[in-house]
Amino acid sequence: MSDKPSKDFHENITDRLRPDGRKPDDFRPIRIEVGVIKRADGSAYVEFGKTRVVAAVYGPEPMHPRHLADPEKAVLICRYNMLPFSVEERKKPGPDRRSIEISKVVKDALSTVVVLEEFPKCMISVDMVVLEADAGTRVAALTAASLALADAGIPMREMISAIACGRANGQIVVDLTKEEEDAEDAVDVPVAMSSLTKRISLLQMDGDLTIEEFEAILDKASKSCVKIHAMQRDALLKKYKKEGEEVDIDGEY
């Protein structure tokens, strides 16, 4: 990572193809499925290329241990975990500092849209499991979690969609792979945006960016989130159609 803004920054517009043949704004193949874990109250599967995540929701149910209950609203519990064989070097099972932080920012993002006030003294649990990791696992997990909450019938003011944008090999690109993340000049910016008020509720960054570069990334990310949201909507509709239900999916989730 260099201290100066990338020289190739303006080359961006030339839409040079990326290592896997995508254009800068292209997603990897995305697959979204709702209702994949039968015992759960809601669940979803999200695949961004070789990044595969399952999310499941239980609740609302009475909070336990009880002394942690909030008398004014439901407590949202999020757990993000990578399976040991989801990465190159086997990861020891169980949460580490990275997964604790990701669980927190995912929870923080979801808490801006879930109507927690409706369920005082309750808990809503969101479990996210990464089956295979090829960059972007937290945004895939958040996208899946948001769907799983909707699938569980938890009231949400709007849906949350998430994607990582950033810089790699001198270009501002969308939905980076692990290979791109390993580029010399790579910066990865995971972003989550809500579907109606378009507000950003997850945003992380580490690397070296000028404000101009950051602005360009944020712009691409917000446009991408709109597209992700359309796919989420389709996946939900598909499930409910199967079940023969009538749904007005544009209102409250």
Binding site: R39, P84, R90, A133
Partner: protein
């Protein structure tokens, strides 16, 4: 599962007449689906669904030291976790006694059934051997977890290819080479009991009624390689022997059914 007493009674009544809630016969399995390669980052991986029960297993390999008493053999490490997402009654945290039992029963089947030729995993005798990590995760619990886990583990092992070893014994995962040296395909079959009836492949709901279980793991040649009676079931000697025969026969059918192709390959060796 928060099933009502009524449901419990209903299931019991059905079982007494040799019938089940989902219409299966007492020794009939639900549909078994195997999906290989669910994580390309693993040396081998698979997902097995038995009805709504869904288990994933993965194989990762590292270079490590052999145990002092088996200097010429690789090392096998098996873990299992019942993910909190798999059932409302599962708590997050360290594996509980049920997950530990499952991991150990599956591990003994693989190990004692000689599923892997551990001597072929020796690199430098007494110094460097392959360590095979088998990690099992229950994604959805609808009963019969040990059998599903045993199949998923076996599928992941059959899916696995060994990573390349550099000259100074570092693992190069960019190049996968030969399949793991698989010598046998042990399959665990778990038998439960209601009065005199023996029941196979129970659902989560049925397991609320039938607390005890008896798992028997059998090899290709029909020999027994692992057994575990637990969860508070008491059987007469005759019942034990009857259950062992039922498990052996079922194991053989499952092996043919889901690992038919690989079975030929393994037998040829």
């Amino acid at each position: 599962m928060a099933s009502t007493k009524l449901t419990v009674e209903y299931i019991k009544n059905l079982l007494e007449r040799g019938r089940r809630l989902d219409g299966r016969s007492l020794n009939e399995f639900r549909e078994i689906k195997v999906k290989y390669g669910i994580s390309k980052k693993a040396e081998g991986s698979a997902e097995v669904c038995v009805g709504n029960t869904r288990v994933v297993a993965g194989v990762k390999m590292e270079v490590g030291e052999p145990y002092p008493d088996t200097p010429d053999k690789g090392v096998l490490v098996t873990t299992a976790e019942f993910l909190a997402m798999a059932a409302p009654e599962f708590e997050p945290g360290l594996p509980g006694e049920d997950a530990i039992e499952l991991a150990r029963v599956v591990d003994r089947g693989i190990r004692e059934g000689n599923a892997i030729d551990m001597e072929k995993l020796c690199i430098v005798e007494g110094e460097k051997v392959w360590v095979v990590f088998l990690d099992i995760f229950v994604l959805n619990h609808d009963g019969n977890l040990i059998d599903a886990a045993g199949m998923a583990t076996m599928a992941a092992l059959l899916d696995a290819r060994m990573p390349k070893l550099t000259e100074d014994y570092e693992v190069d995962r960019s190049k996968l080479t030969d399949p793991l040296p698989i010598r046998d395909i042990p399959i665990p079959v778990t038998v439960r009991k209601h009065n005199e009836h023996l029941i196979l492949d129970t659902t989560a709901l049925e397991e609320e009624v039938l607390k005890g279980k008896f798992t028997v793991t059998t090899k290709i040649n029909g020999n027994l390689c692992a057994m575990q009676l637990s969860d508070g079931m008491a059987m007469t000697k005759e019942e034990v022997l009857k259950a062992v025969r039922l498990a052996r026969d079922t194991s053989s059918k499952i092996r043919e059914n889901i690992f038919g192709d690989q079975l030929k390959r393994v037998k040829k060796q």
